[in-house]
Amino acid sequence: MNTIRKNDLLLIGLGIVVFAVLQGMMTEGLIGAFWKLNIFIICINIILSASLNLINGYTGQFSLGHAGFMAVGAYVGVVLTTNFHWPFLLALVAGGAAAALLGCLIGLPTLRLNGDYLAIATLGLGEIIRIVIMNIQYVGGAAGFTGIPHLTTFPWVFFVMLFTLIVVKNFVNSTHGRACIAIRENEIAAEAMGVNTTKYKVIAFTIGAAFAGVAGGLFAHCFYIINPSSFTFMQSFNYLIMVVMGGLGSLTGSIAGAFVVTFISAALASWPEFRMIIYALALILLMFYRPQGLFGYIELTQIGIIQRLKLKGGHK
């Protein structure tokens, strides 16, 4: 218990330092509008990849519906702030809650499916959500929802991201988290050990969906308009790529994956014709030489060199 709290404080401390540096650079004008927006997107993508990692990486349930949950959170959020003038925080929470509720309702029947079947079911779910939204005139249909107040600021995205990381980290290190990892490792053995596998799959799915919803709310309030085409299954694949690239079952991996993927696509924005080629090439090379992802099941703090440095420090 003590070590968990100590680690949390360390994470929060580190977060505040990073936040101060970035915020300072933004006010000083060292970071232009383009990169500022990309830092927002990186933070939002970290929320999405960390929450997807909880479902795909830690619990081992192959879900492809993350963009759908994000869309639910985004639309619920913008309707509440724009039409009902709710405070931003409440709108974000409501969006997350709506996505979580949907995740729980959908999870109960679909999580009885395994592997490929679950992937197909969640892929379909994401598309259904998008098409339903496209046909609701109240939120603008295919043309999109306009006139959204620009509420997302750097402190918002940064601290929601930090909060997400702390929640996910503590969840996976708890008894509940170990139950989820046991399901990933061997579902039958986990059940034989007394783990209620359906319950934990649904819990992981619901928490993941909730944070995707919150991320959707943050995303929507970055721009003045959102439309359903921002939440296609290609988006879900994108988040999956971040998770796999960073390493399934590694939270630091999710951060690295979100950072690298977003950074590459932003850095290559000026060369749109090469962008997808380089992107695809990077993925092929990664899967060839490091199929377990950049971090693959381990956290940054568990990597040999850092452990050795710690040990050396201890001897002195």
Binding site: A190, E191, A192, M193, G194, V195
Partner: protein, 237 residues
């Protein structure tokens, strides 16, 4: 001694396939009971039905006076039945210690768990040596020991063993079976499913012979081992 587990006329299906056709059996407290029979006779299916991994279509399973037929597996573990699954099914990417910790997943008493961990390490000294090793890197015999130790961590009153001899060298099989006897002597009732009928009959009190989903013979293990029919069919003459 009282009856611990009583199975009355259960029927289990895999889709349209009628795998268990009205099996009834009982296990008394303190016994070792074995189910023997050929491939596909329904031995593992019976075990998996008891532990809740499969649901019977009809029939009653009574454990210590309560009907447990159709309960989910995690509730049955809490009731006091623990299974060592066929093919061991250890958590390969976790350490030996983490595997054992998960065995105690359904328990709340931290002190009792720590005590039982000690007992398991005393019983399987090799697991203590390899405590921090990934379970997937253990040898077959060590993995079987880990699977048994993990099942014991839930402090079961009834232990279900599914083919503990599978894929092990003869010398190791002997060791595993003497450990099974040892576990039984410290007060755990055992229901054992085995293809190695010779070994199983040598340590069991009673036995049931299964053939294509039905019980064809039952009785004291020693008598069955001596019977002409069983010798011919399962013991190699």
């Amino acid at each position: 001694m009282g009856t611990m587990l009583q199975i009355d006329d259960i029927n289990v299906y895999y889709g349209a396939i009628h795998a268990i056709k009205g099996i009834s059996l009982k296990v008394d407290q303190g016994e070792i009971v074995t189910l023997i029979g050929a491939n596909g006779a329904g031995k593992s299916t019976t075990l998996r039905t008891i532990s809740g991994l499969l649901k019977p279509k009809s029939g009653k399973i009574t454990f210590e006076g309560k009907n447990i037929a159709g309960l989910p597996a995690h509730a049955i573990v809490k009731a006091g039945i623990s299974q060592v699954p066929e093919g061991r099914r250890i958590f390969a990417n976790m350490t030996v210690q983490e595997n054992l910790d998960l065995g105690a997943y359904a328990r709340q008493d931290t002190d009792g768990v720590a005590k039982d961990l000690k007992v398991v390490f005393e019983r399987f000294p090799r697991l203590l040596e390899r405590k921090n090793q990934e379970a997937g890197t253990l040898s077959g015999g060590e993995q079987q020991m880990l699977a048994m130790g993990r099942a014991l961590m839930s402090r079961p009153r009834l232990l279900l063993l599914d083919e503990p001899s599978m894929g092990l060298a003869p010398l190791l099989i002997k060791e595993i079976f003497s450990i099974i006897q040892d576990i039984n002597q410290t007060g755990t009732t055992i229901l054992l499913v085995e293809q190695n009928a010779n070994m199983a009959l040598s340590i069991a009190n009673r036995a049931y012979v299964l053939e294509t989903g039905r019980i064809t013979l039952s009785g004291e293990a020693q008598k069955l081992a001596a019977s002409e029919d069983v010798r011919k069919a399962y013991l190699g003459g």
